[in-house]
Structure formats: structure tokens, C-alpha cells
Amino acid sequence: MIRKLLVVAAVGSSHLLAGCGSDPVNPPDTPTIVVLGGNNQQGEPGTQVSQLLRVRVHEGGLPVVGVEVTWEVVAGGGTVEPLSSITDAQGDATARYTLGATVGVNTIRVSAAGASGVATFTATATNSPAKAQLVAEVSIPANYGIHDTHVRDGIAFVAAWNSGIWIYDVGGGDLGGSPESPKKISQYVTSANGVPGGAQVHNSWWFHNPVSGSKRYLFVGQEGPGVIGATSSGDLHVVDVSDLANPVEVAFLRVPSAGVHNFWMDEANQVLYAAWYNGGVVAVDVSGTLTGDLSSRIIAQSFPGGEGASFTWGVMLSNGTLYAADMVQGFFALDPTTLQIRNPAPNVTNRYTSDLWVHGNVGYTGTWGTRGGIRGNAINIWQLGGNGVPTFVRSHEIPGAGTVSDIAVTPDGKLLVATVENGNTVSNGLHVFKRSDPLAPLSAAFSYVSSGLHTGEVAVINGRTYVFGARNPPAPSLMIFDITRLLD
């Protein structure tokens, strides 16, 4: 109440001052309320729209702080919460909107104490909201569950933690499988290699060697226990999958005092790049026959953000640049041969960084956990300049998200896919965005997954585009979404 009185007093005093001017009836410094975001959303009747309704109250471009904003549903019968709110330091106020129970246009009118005019939002309740089409769901043992899926040539390699690697025919095998009806070929548990916690299979990459023509090796990441930002454990395992029905582990690589995370390959040059958490980025020669301890095959290692300060989540090679997403330090461009960092200064670090994807001259990085009170609820968007060096453009927020854990772009570049976990009912799951403007993706579909999706792998199989999602425990599963129609 005291705050409200102060606001009123402030507005009143500005009116008094305005009265000294030439137009006391319509003073030029009257606060104005405008729509800032969340307009023109749609969803199923009775559901909450995914983005917050956001208004700004300003006075000649300067924010008006602490003014009471009133929200009112004037058509459509939905509910807005709260009914009143107070503008923040930017002059902004937000509210959540739940669509009315029937199909149709909803209208929300917003006014601010002492401000001229109103802001008006429309939202549409429709029975055909855009959703990615779930075509199959395969239960994975809750032996922690599923972390990631690698799909190539119609074969899916499911990283099923202590249940190992599960190999499925999803259109490319001999079992008649498809994304709609995956057929299990085999499963294989890689060795724990003395790492506490067991096999902890986290991710994989099926190496198609263009030099030898071999498709013999599957690289498997083991994510052992660690302390985020500081320590990690887990080895790179090499599994011979010449016979997909009978995989056999043949080699491993350990970086001392560090654990492997996501990796990428330069197959033409037979080099594997791996993010190794506190071990930074490691390049490994994987030419020829792989057997036993591969530690002598390490070509180079570097630390985005410096040794002792790095905790690198993932890498990706694109257009002659190796990109690295470091949880603590941000997004980096590296020389793929020397692993020298091209943008050594720490960049956007207001949130922890998670996964990355690069398409053309635009990069995307996910965000993770909570840092300085800011949730990992955003996709950071980067313009890639000369030599691949990224420049931060903006953060696209996904309201309610706790972690944007995986990012990918479809091969044709039309869609951006992100998975969200640790969020709420309007954020956990699969998000698909149109890349009509790559620097400002538009929400195209959202599929809610209650426990969140940990990862989403994009794969094109028989002309259709799918996302292979990893549903979190307590009921872990491989969720396969067909997003082909969203490409139109």
C-alpha cells in the first residue's frame, strides 16, 4: 500500500509539474503503456499460453517504475493472473494467461494507473495447436534411463546409462523397423573402466570412415560422477559394431582427472573432437585400427576460458571452425587444427551454457541450471562473423524453462529444435521454432513432456524429419516425434 501511494504521489507530482507547461490538459510526459511481448499466441482451450503477457509503461521513453498495472479479460472467458501487478525497474509488468474454455479469440486489456491508453492482447483458443507429432515411444529401463540418441542410416543408438547402448532399426536395418515402429537389434554394456557409478553411457557417434569405407566403430561417452564446474570423470569407449547384433568394446581413451561429454567428428580427416568438461576440448586421431588405450592418439587439447576455469559441454565443427560451448565461460570459436581459441575473452556468462548448434553463420547455445538467480530458460543466439568468431545477438527466453538442455537445427535449416527440462507445464518438453529469420526464431510447436526431455536428436529418415527425444526418469523413454509438417 505504501508503495502504491508513493507511485501515485510520483505520478501526481509529475502532473503538477506538467501543469507548469503549455498543455495542462494533455501533458507531453503522460506515461504510456505498450505491449512488449506475448501477443497473438495460440493454444488449446483452457490451457495456459506459453509466453508471458508483457507490457511496458514508459514516459517519454523512460521506464515508469512501481506503477500498478491492471489486467482484464474482456473477451473469450479466459483467466489472467495476477489481476494487478507492479512495473519493475524496466517499467515492465507481466501476467500469465489461460485461454477460455471454448474455441475463439480471447482479448485481454491492460491499463496502468496514471497512464494514457490501454494495451490490448489477443490470443486464440484452437483445437489444433501446433504440436510435434509423437509417432513412437519406447520404454527404457529406469537404470537411470536414457540420455541421448545418435541416429544414422536408419539405425538409432540409444545411450541408456547403466543399461548400456541399445541399438534399434528405425528404417535402415534388416528387421523392418521404422521411426514409427523401432525394432531392437541388440544392446551392449560398455565397461565401467573403474569409474564409480558403472557404465553410465551418455552419448555416441557412429563413425563412417570415408577413407577406409568402414562403419566399424561406435564412439561411446561415459559420464561419471563429478562436481559441475570443477571435476568430472568418465572415458571414451570404442565399440566395434561391424555386426550390429554383436557389438564388442575394443578401445578406450581416458584424459586424466577429467570426464568426456559430447563429441563431434571430422570424418574426412578421421579426427574426433570431444568436450571433456574440465579437460576442455580434445582432438583425437581415430584413423586406422583402434584397439586398447588410445591416449597416444591425442592430437591437441585446449581450454576455453583457460586451464582450471573451463567446463566444456559440447563441440561442433562447421565451416572450418570448431565451436565449443563451455558451461562456465560461454561460446567459443576454435581453430580445428591447433584448437587455438579465436575469441579468448569470456563472453555471455549471465547464465550457464549447455549445448550448441551452428547452422550457416548463426549459432545457438542452450542455457542450464540457475546462475546468479537467473534460470537456464533461454536460447542464446549468435552471429558468426569472419573466422567464425561469434557475436552475441540476443537471448530467446522460453518462459518457465529450467534448463535448455539440447539444441539442433534440421539439415535444411528450416527448424530449430530445443529440449527443456527442470521447468514447468508450459516449458518441459520439445520446442520447435521456425528459422525464417535465423536470428529471431518463431515458436512453431511445443510438445509437453512432464519430466522433461534431456536431449533431442534430429534425423531424416526416408524423406521425413524426426526428433529422437530422451524422456527423463521416473519413466524414461525414447520419444520419437515427426516434425516434417512443420517444415512447410
Partner: protein
């Protein structure tokens, strides 16, 4: 019965069987308003509850068997957990989780062989309850706030099979149980998961010695398989606990003190969580004064949209770091019910203050989570009980007594 013998029985729970031939009923609950400062995100939080609502029934079945049942209604009264400084476990953080509705359901043989084994007493306990590890459940101790170390110092709500042997001042216990801790108040221990037994995948050993009347020395070890992952895919916890407990009393009141140290080594020593706790209580007339200090390491995990929750089961085995909670708690209470009454009405004030310190590496930081590293919790309330305090939960068979609480 001499005062010394009384004290001995109080600490060892060796009440004559004849004393428990009847149906013993204890009902208890605490109505409280709790103020937490800080709460996650830097704000404060104030809530009111009925907490620890329990109904304990025990009955002697013949001369050597006792059936015990403790009903806990926290699933109804604190379904979303209870604000408690530093509390964590079972998917809650900065809130104490509600306990399972069937908190204890046990059949206890206190002296299997009777006089045949002379001074020896052999006991066997089976059912759902506490594994013989560590110290008494906080619910049967003087404070409203559970200590931060609850999940380091007790192993509870398991399907247990306990063998006991006692001779003179020494008692040894060995137990098999299931490693999984409950994920919700209505959940029962997982006995078998597909083709793998969970019952028996974990064990504990405890030794208790009463060198002199009133003093109890305890040492125990436990190996708990995958407590935080029900299906068994999680890491193991190797636990150690030692403690010394004093209790005596006379017509003017009672004295109680406990010092304990415990350690839980997780994932083959990857994470080692330690705790040191000392607490004491003095009862004089109607006045109860209690004090506690603890220094406990707490693992920090990624939180969900609800900042009081973490993912269960874990998605992976990493943590964000470790914070040391150094907390001091003072409690003042006064018994309003007339002496000798079956009912108890005990209004209280409880204050906790302290400091959260970062330990080792990682991104966990109190300032980041709470906006401060200072802790100030305040609670007022009233304990309402019928037929006395809770029994010493976790003490069964040859250790039990209908009156062995402080």
C-alpha cells in the same frame, strides 16, 4: 527401582516385558508457524502446519513378541514438505520431506531363547522401520527442526530384518534391508525389481555399549545400495556413525545430551559428506531448554522449477558442489498440562542461526542460491501429545522400552 537402574533402562530400553503387556498408544503432533530466512531465491518464507502427526501403537504378543505400528500423517499435513534450515533428501531441499504414512510396522522378538541362554538376550526384528544405524530419529528428540544430517545419521523406512544379541552392557545388531529410500509418502520399500532383489542389497552393523548408567556409546557402519534410485541404478553409500548419548532424570526433571559424528561416502568415495552434531536438553519442572549445534556437509543438486525440489531419481551422478551448514538452534518450551496427565501441551519457541560455507570446488554457492550465507529461522508452536513422547525410533527388540525417550 533405584535411580541408577532406571537410568540404565532408559538408555538401553530394557523395560521388563510385563510392563508392555497392554496396548500402548502414543499420539502426537506439532502445530507450528515457521519462518525461513533465507528461502531459495533470496526471499523469506513463512508457513504454518500440523507437522509430525503420528500415532504409535505397540502391543506385547505373549511374553516374547511385540508388534509395533507407527502411522505418520505428514502426507496429508505437509505434503509439500516443511520449511527447515538446511533440510534435504528424497527430492526435497530446504524443506524436510514428509515421511511415509506407514512409518513403522514391525514384529519384534525381544528374547528368543528366554532363560535358556542365561544372561544373553537374542532378538529378531522384521518389518518396515529403521535399520540399525546411527542415532535416534529426530522425531523422538527435543527439537522441531530436523538436523541437516538426517540422511547421514539415520537409515529409515526400509524393509528390515535385524538380528540382535545383548549381554550385559553390550548389544550388537546386524541387519539386511532394501537400499531404496521412498520417493513418496505412500510408497513401500521395493523388495524386488524385475529379477533383482532389492531387499538384502544393503546391510548395517551397530554396536551399543552402556559403560555406566545413563551413558550409551554407539558405533555403526552401513552399506546402502542406490538409496536415491529406486530401481537400483544409482551409486552406493558407505556410512559410518559414532555417538555418545547421556540421559538421566529424577523427580525434578531430566538431562539429555548427544554428540555424534557421521560420514557418508558416496559413489566409491567420490563424495564424502560428514557431520558433527552436539545437542542437549534440560527439563526442570515445566520448563524445557534445549540447544543444538551442528556442522554438516550438504550436496547441492540442480533444482527444478519449484526451487524446493530436485530431480528424483537423478538424471546423472554429478552434483553442483558441497555446502557446509553450521547451525545453532535454541529451543524453549513449557509444559502446560498438569503433572501426571496423560496429555501433554508444550508451547515452544525455536530459533536457528548460522552460516553456510562453500566447501571445495564446484558452482554451488550460498550467495547464488539464497542471496546470503546467513541463516535465521524462527518457529513457534505447540506440541500436543497423548501418553508421552515418541519412542526412540530405530531402537527395537532387545533395545526397546515403552518409556525410553528423553
Amino acid at each position: 527401582m533405584t535411580r541408577a537402574v532406571c537410568a540404565l533402562l532408559l538408555s538401553m530400553g530394557a523395560a521388563p516385558l510385563a510392563a508392555q503387556q497392554s496396548f500402548n498408544v502414543i499420539a502426537r503432533g506439532i502445530v507450528t508457524v515457521r519462518h525461513a530466512d533465507p528461502a531459495p531465491g533470496g526471499a523469506t518464507d513463512t508457513e504454518a502446519y500440523l507437522t509430525q502427526p503420528t500415532l504409535s501403537l505397540s502391543r506385547a504378543l505373549g511374553s516374547r513378541l511385540v508388534a509395533r505400528f507407527t502411522l505418520n500423517l505428514e502426507s496429508a499435513t505437509i505434503a509439500g514438505g516443511e520449511l527447515a534450515p538446511g533440510a534435504w533428501g528424497e527430492g526435497f531441499v530446504d524443506r524436510r520431506h514428509p515421511h511415509t504414512t506407514v512409518h513403522e510396522l514391525l514384529l519384534e522378538a525381544r528374547d528368543i531363547l528366554g532363560d535358556i541362554d542365561g544372561d544373553w538376550r537374542l532378538g529378531l526384528v522384521a518389518g518396515k522401520g529403521f535399520a540399525p544405524f546411527g542415532t535416534d530419529d529426530p522425531m523422538s528428540r527435543p527439537f522441531l527442526s530436523y538436523p541437516v544430517n538426517h540422511h547421514l545419521a539415520q537409515v529409515l523406512e526400509r524393509a528390515v530384518l535385524i538380528g540382535q544379541v545383548r549381554r550385559g552392557p553390550v548389544t550388537l545388531e546386524a541387519a539386511l534391508f532394501n537400499g531404496d529410500e521412498p520417493e513418496s509418502p505412500g510408497q513401500w520399500p521395493l523388495i524386488r525389481n524385475d529379477s533383482v532383489w532389492r531387499f538384502g542389497d544393503s546391510w548395517s552393523l551397530r554396536a551399543l555399549v552402556v559403560p555406566l548408567a545413563g551413558l550409551e556409546l554407539q558405533g555403526s557402519i552401513a552399506s546402502v545400495h542406490s538409496p536415491e534410485h529406486r530401481q537400483g541404478g544409482g551409486g552406493g553409500h558407505d556410512k559410518v556413525s559414532v555417538s555418545a548419548r547421556w540421559q538421566d532424570g529424577n523427580d525434578r526433571g531430566s538431562r539429555y545430551a548427544l554428540v555424534e559424528w557421521a560420514q557418508s561416502s558416496e559413489l566409491e568415495g567420490t563424495f564424502k559428506l560428514e557431520t558433527l552434531l552436539a545437542e542437549a536438553a534440560l527439563v526442570r519442572g515445566r520448563w524445557h531448554v534445549s540447544a543444538r549445534y551442528e556442522s554438516t556437509l550438504r550436496p547441492e543438486e540442480e533444482r527444478l522449477a519449484d526451487p524446493y525440489k530436485t530431480h528424483r531419481p537423478h538424471i546423472e551422478n554429478s552434483i553442483l558442489g558441497t555446502l557446509r551448514w553450521n547451525l545453532a538452534t535454541l529451543r524453549l518450551a513449557a509444559e502446560l498440562a498438569p503433572r501426571g496427565s496423560k496429555a501433554g501441551i508444550l508451547p515452544f519457541v525455536e530459533v536457528t542461526g548460522g552460516h553456510i560455507a562453500r566447501v571445495g570446488s564446484g558452482i554451488a554457492d550460498a550467495i547464488d542460491i539464497y542471496g546470503t550465507d546467513r541463516v535465521r529461522h524462527f518457529s513457534v508452536g505447540v506440541v500436543i501429545e497423548w501418553q508421552g513422547r515418541n519412542h526412540r525410533m530405530g531402537r527395537y527388540g532387545v533395545l526397546t522400552s515403552h518409556e525410553s525417550h528423553h
